[in-house]
Symmetry: C2
Subunit: 142 residues, 2 copies
DNA sequence: CCATATTAGTTACATTTGAAACCATTTTCA
DNA sequence: TGAAAATGGTTTCAAATGTAACTAATATGG
C-alpha cells in the first residue's frame, strides 16, 4: 500500500524543499537573489572562468536556466564575461567584486544552515548519510 | 569553503529532482497527469473524504497548488466533491472510479521505482536512511 | 576540403508557479 | 450578541520555468 508520508521520493522532496526554503531565507531578502542565481554564484566562486555549460553541468540546472541567471547577474554587476580565444562560442564567467561580496556573505550563512541541520546527527551518522546519498544519487541517474 | 557538489542541501535537491522526474516518467505520459495531481490522488487514495486543506497539510503542497490540482482532477472526472454539513466552506474530496483506477495503476509503479532505487541499499541501510531522514525533516521544520 | 552534424548560448512561446487579494463562512471574545 | 479575526478555498497577476526553435561557431567524415 502506498502511503505518501512514508514514501522515500516524497520524503526527499519535502526535506529538500524545506531546506532550500530555509537557506533562501538567509539571502533572498538581503540580496534580492533567487535560488538559481545563488547557485550560479556558488559555482563561479568555486570555479572561476568556467563556461555557462560547465555551470549547467556542475549545478544540475539546465542551460536555459543558467543563461537567464547569468544574464540577470551580469545586469546586476555581479558577474563578468570574457570571450574564449579557443572557442568563440563559449565565454569564461567570473564573479565581479560585487559578486564575490555576495558569495562571501552568503556562503558562511549557507554553511551555518547546513551545520545547524546536521547538528542533529553524530559524525558517524553524517558520514553514513553522505555515503547513502552518494549511492542513491548514482542509482537514480537517468 | 563552500563546494556546491558536497553541500547537503544541494545534493538533496539534485537527488529529489532526479527521483521525481524518474517517477513522473512512469505516469506523466500514460495518464497525462502532473506531479501535483498525482500527489493529490495519492493522498485521496489513502485518506478518502479529506478536505483540500488536509491534502495540503499531508502533501506539503501549498493550498493554491492543491486547489488547482483538484480543479483539474475534477474536470478530468478523477475526483469528486461533497459538501460538508458541519462547515460549509470545506468540501470532502474523493477519488472517483476513474481516479481510483489511476491510483491503482500508478501506485505499484511508484513503489516499484522506489524499490529499484532502494535496491542499492541493504535492509539495515534502508532503516538507517529512514531514521536519518526523519530526524532531518524534523530538524528542518520552519 | 566542404557538407553535415554537433555544440555553446540565446530567444520565443506556452505553461507552471507563487504571492497577494479576494469571497464566504465560521470562530472568538468583549 | 455582534464586530473583528481566522479559516477554507478560489482568483488574479506577475514572475519563473521548460520546450522548441534559433544563431553562431566548431568538429567530423566522406
Amino acid at each position: 500500500m502506498l502511503d505518501l508520508e512514508h514514501f522515500l521520493p516524497y520524503r526527499l522532496s519535502v526535506l529538500s524543499n524545506q531546506v532550500s526554503a530555509g537557506i533562501a531565507e538567509t539571502y533572498a531578502e538581503r540580496f534580492g537573489i533567487s535560488v538559481t542565481e545563488w547557485r550560479v554564484i556558488a559555482i563561479l566562486g568555486r570555479y572561476p572562468g568556467i563556461s555557462a555549460t560547465g555551470v549547467a553541468e556542475r549545478s544540475a540546472m539546465d542551460k536555459v536556466a543558467v543563461s537567464r541567471a547569468v544574464h540577470r547577474l551580469i545586469e546586476q554587476g555581479r558577474v563578468s564575461r570574457e570571450s574564449n580565444a579557443d572557442d568563440r562560442r563559449a565565454k569564461h564567467l567570473f564573479l565581479s567584486e560585487q559578486g564575490r561580496e555576495v558569495f562571501d556573505a552568503i556562503a558562511p550563512a549557507a554553511l551555518a544552515y547546513e551545520e545547524r541541520l546536521l547538528a542533529v546527527l553524530t559524525d558517524d551518522e553524517r558520514q553514513a548519510l553522505d555515503a547513502l546519498l552518494d549511492r542513491l544519487i548514482n542509482a537514480s541517474h537517468p
